[in-house]
């Protein structure tokens, strides 16, 4: 973003970059662009002078400051979504060199180590593009509503502690609970397809993220109360049976959430639930 100044008593905060990263050099960014829904898709290439420690975000920031293509054509700044820049908010997910991931943790020295290397940026393909690299992932949040992804507490007033929990259960739940709704698992899933019509979201495959969240809440002592509703929701169209076991989800998950275990766990739960329901009617 800015050149580092020499530190002095006055210059409190100019910081050095971590050592070991590469030299300053030029990297080309080929970016898939689109000005909005229904607008044509086009590609533009930018050359960016990168500094040591640069990531996709810092390069996109430079493009925003000087939106000029390699052909010397002035254009508009590239639009993209970002937030925390430390891979916990999930906002800056995009397809980088053909693979979905967060752009903040995509360090230039690793993905484009040589001078003149090209980095290809595309928006996620499973969600409607808002503009350029910015997509609308509302469907993910709607999915969380479908599975009642919350603990049904009696309100927020002081009513004592929650249930005790073993460190093992905590460890299991914690990992599941680090899901940041980034959508990597859905982008890589062959069974999760783009659906622009919100009316069809309910019956289209819900995807690994929400399935794993259902497991998270079923594991909680109080969350269990909503277990049957969650399982009923996941037995219908768009539910767990739509999983094709390609297992890409677990491989692209930046938080290493055991998504395939979650899917299997939900599979087991619905198996038992459906049999119980058939015999008991509950």
């Amino acid at each position: 973003m800015v050149a580092d100044n020499t530190p002095s008593a006055d210059n409190a905060q100019e910081t050095s970059t971590p050592e070991g990263s590469g030299r300053a050099r030029k990297v080309r960014f080929r970016i898939k662009r689109c000005e909005g829904p229904g607008k044509p898709v086009y590609w533009q290439t930018f050359a960016v002078q990168t500094e040591p420690g640069a990531n996709i975000i810092s390069c996109l920031q430079k493009i925003a400051e000087h939106p000029v293509t390699v052909e010397g054509e002035r254009t508009t700044p590239v639009t993209w979504d970002s937030g925390c820049l430390e891979e916990v908010c999930g906002a800056c997910t995009m397809v980088i060199n053909g693979r979905v991931r967060q752009s903040c943790s995509a360090l230039i020295d690793r993905i484009a180590p040589n001078d003149g290397d090209e980095v290809v940026l595309e928006p996620m393909s499973k969600f409607p593009v808002i503009r350029d690299l910015w997509v609308d992932r509302q469907r993910m949040f709607e999915a969380l509503k479908k599975i009642d992804a919350w603990v049904p507490i009696d309100g927020t007033y002081s009513l004592g502690a929650g249930p005790k929990e073993s460190p093992e259960t905590q460890a299991t739940r914690y990992v599941l609970s680090t899901c940041m709704s980034c959508g990597c698992c859905l982008e890589a899933c062959p069974q999760y397809l783009k659906e622009e019509d919100p009316a069809k979201w309910d019956s289209s495959f819900i995807g690994a993220a929400a399935l794993s969240q259902a497991r998270l809440f079923n594991l909680h002592e109080t969350g269990k109360q909503g277990r049957k509703d969650r399982l009923d929701a996941l037995m219908g169209p768009g539910g767990v049976s739509e999983c094709g076991n390609a297992q890409n989800c677990v491989k692209v998950c930046p938080k290493h959430i055991p998504l395939t275990e979650s899917i299997a766990a939900i599979g087991r739960a619905v198996t038992v639930h459906s049999i119980a329901k058939w015999f008991t009617g509950k």
């Binding site: 210059n11 050095s16 908010c89 906002a91 929650g162 914690y174």
Partner: protein, 659 residues
């Protein structure tokens, strides 16, 4: 309360969501505005934990009162004492609630909530979920909010930008009756009516360029309220976190919990020692914090640790490899233990630096982290009124007041956490009240949630009150709102009219360049060490930037999802807040907490044990700075040394070893 009453919450972090849930729970519909899907709010970045007195600590002599005392002492007496007392009293209940919501707090083998040590305390009183506590708390509140959303009581406006508070009336009687907001996708600008508006918009780290904050923490919303007449208090109090990893786009936080779990800060004793860390023997390592502060050691409050690290690197040139960096060493701890307790930050370090901090000491340097200052708010004191302020509270002493709620604040008083504009509230980081001149680690999550829950009731009561009943926002003529919509549309028009699609935009008038220069300048002048000369230079520079900004040229005229518009518009607001921060820093001629003036190195209670309040005058575009008395009727100010070895003996606070 009529059926049409509504409440607006701006910001979907911990404070905003807690408020939304509490208000919705009372049956009032909430419109929740956020720049991002609320699950991606900046609270997600909080790592270390959340403080609360607990049974284990209590049986070692700790208490809610001590938590309160620590917070006041840590904040160098600049915090409002009543709200802090109430917050400390509620803290254990807040933890219980979060526990009920399903937050996966780390557990002991028996299944109790595990605790860790944190800065500014000698007791383990920090509850945590790995090293992503903020994320876990945010998700729990996000889930509860979604529950109300599914029920129809909360309506989310995500990717909407708050532009301006809508107010009616003048002076004392001025009341907030809604907001103007813009859909960042369709670019539609429209007013929203509400009987109360809660600002829960966080801090302003982006004013300092690279900080530990998210890209959305530009302070724009608070700056807009400030320009609309809300007071802004203690803007000069900016926390610089001692341990972050510098990056090209931001500085990434390495949680204080790293030190809480045993991390040690050191540099080689020999200047210019180029050996690798593991080749430097123990006696040739300088654990400068432990040496200087034998009681608190690496867990002195952040401002102190930051100044010490800064001194080592910048003044003594003792930084590792001659650079501005010191070691934060965890390599003596069991790797599995580290993964279990600190997995989140271990991973961040590995991903962004490439080294495994379980094997190689981390290299860190301070970075801007938190704004203690923010919108000024008021409150109604509770029942606790000691005849004289209580002196130092030491562990094991009987607290002067028990932990019953209502001692610090009057529960449900409509003005709790309300700004000087009626019906306009400030919760969380954007509220100045809780942390004084330095925030203790793991107190931020608490203050955010406490504000949302406790003062959420105040919002409900305000809406139920006479003023709203007589003139609900719904009943007001549309002109009240249209005026502000026109104002915002005019701003947008001016920016869009500046768009130039040919040739190079001169750097002087490039919004992005202006923002970058602002960050560099503010970082250099208004963070760890401040001097009159440098601050004056900074004010001049910000003036220059504001001048340049008035002729800013945009590079995107799109009427759809125009991100540049949003950024450049916020840059204008950042400049206003930056100017206020610099001016306030200049006005406060003392050193207190995070605010360190080289030319006034001592705390000056006689002149400055006061809240600095900025008031914006739109006519002159000037900041009117005044000082307001702080009510110190609960705790008597004492020197804040944290048992530093070279402190004057009478000033030294005994560091009491824990059993």
């Amino acid at each position: 309360m009529s059926a049409e009453n509504r409440v607006i919450v701006v910001g979907g972090g911990l404070a905003g969501l807690a408020a939304a849930v509490r208000v919705a729970e009372a049956g009032l519909p909430v419109d929740l505005f956020s720049l991002v899907p609320v699950k991606r709010s900046h609270s997600v970045c909080a790592q270390g934990g959340i403080n609360a007195c607990n049974e284990v600590a209590r049986q070692q002599g700790y208490s809610e009162y001590q938590h309160f005392d620590e917070t006041i002492y840590g904040g160098d007496y600049l915090a409002d004492q009543h709200p802090v007392l109430e917050m400390a009293n509620w803290a254990p209940k807040v933890i219980d609630l979060l526990d009920r919501m399903g937050v996966p707090f780390n557990r002991t083998s028996e299944g109790n909530r595990d605790l860790r040590l944190f800065g500014g305390s000698l007791f383990k009183r920090t509850h945590f979920a790995g090293a992503t506590t903020g994320q876990q708390l945010l998700y729990a509140l996000d889930e509860q909010t979604r529950r109300y959303e599914a029920e129809g009581l909360v309506k989310k406006y995500e990717f909407w930008e708050f532009l301006w508070p809508v107010t009616e009336g003048e002076g004392e009687g001025r009341r907030c009756v809604g907001i103007v907001a813009q859909d960042m996708r369709t670019m539609q600008i429209r007013p929203f009516r509400a009987d109360a508006v809660v600002m829960a918009t966080g801090g302003c780290g982006l004013v300092f360029g690279k900080s530990t904050n998210s890209i959305i923490c530009n302070g724009g919303a608070a700056a807009r309220c400030y320009q609309a007449g809300a007071w802004y208090a203690n803007p000069e109090m900016i926390q610089v976190h001692p341990t972050a990893i510098p990056g090209a786009d931001k500085c990434r936080l390495m949680s204080e919990s790293a030190r809480g779990e045993g991390g040690r800060v050191w540099v080689p004793r020999k200047k210019g020692d180029r050996r690798k860390a593991d080749q430097i023997p123990e006696d040739e390592r300088w654990y400068f914090l432990e040496e200087k502060y034998p009681g608190y050691g690496n867990l002195v409050p952040r401002d102190i640790a930051t100044r010490e690290i800064f001194d080592i690197c910048v003044n003594q040139h003792m930084g590792v490899d001659g650079e501005n960096q010191v070691y934060l060493d965890l390599t003596h701890k069991d790797p599995d233990y580290l993964t279990r307790k600190l997995g989140g930050i271990m991973e961040i370090y590995e991903k962004f630096v490439g080294d495994d901090p379980r094997k190689v000491p981390m290299k860190i340097f301070p970075a801007v982290h938190y704004s203690m200052g923010g919108l000024w708010t008021t409150f109604t004191p509770g029942s606790y009124t000691p005849e004289t302020p209580v002196g130092e509270h030491k562990p094991g002493m009987v607290p002067p007041v028990d932990a019953q709620p209502g001692h610090g604040l009057a529960i449900g008083a409509p003005n709790n956490s309300m700004t000087n504009i009626d019906g306009l509230y400030a919760f969380g980081e954007v509220n100045f009240a809780y942390h004084g001149a330095t925030r203790l680690g793991a107190n931020a999550l608490l203050s955010c949630i406490f504000d949302g829950l406790f003062c959420g009731v105040s919002v409900v009561n305000f809406v139920k009150g006479d003023r709203v009943r007589e003139a609900p926002a719904e009943s007001l003529p549309s002109q009240v709102f249209d005026r502000f919509v026109e104002q915002e549309e005019a701003k947008v028009k001016k920016l869009l009219d500046s768009v130039q699609m040919r040739g190079e935009i001169a750097p002087e008038h490039n919004g992005y360049t202006i923002a970058n220069e602002l960050g560099v300048e503010m970082n250099a002048a208004c963070t760890v060490v401040k001097t009159e000369g440098r601050l004056k230079k900074c004010i001049e520079k910000v003036r220059e930037l504001r001048e340049r900004y008035s002729k800013v040229v945009m590079s995107d005229s799109a009427a759809w999802s125009n991100q540049s518009l949003s950024f450049v518009r916020a840059t204008g607001d950042m400049l206003v807040i930056a100017e206020l921060i610099a001016k306030a820093s200049l006005e406060r001629e003392e050193s207190r907490g995070s605010h360190y003036r080289l030319d006034f190195p001592e705390r000056d209670d006689d002149r400055f044990l006061k809240t600095l309040v900025g008031e914006y005058d739109p006519a002159s575009d000037e900041h009117k700075i005044s000082f307001r008395e702080i009510d110190t009727s609960l705790v008597k100010p004492r020197p804040r040394t944290y048992g530093r070895v070279d402190a004057k003996p009478q000033d030294k606070k005994e560091a009491v070893a824990q059993s």
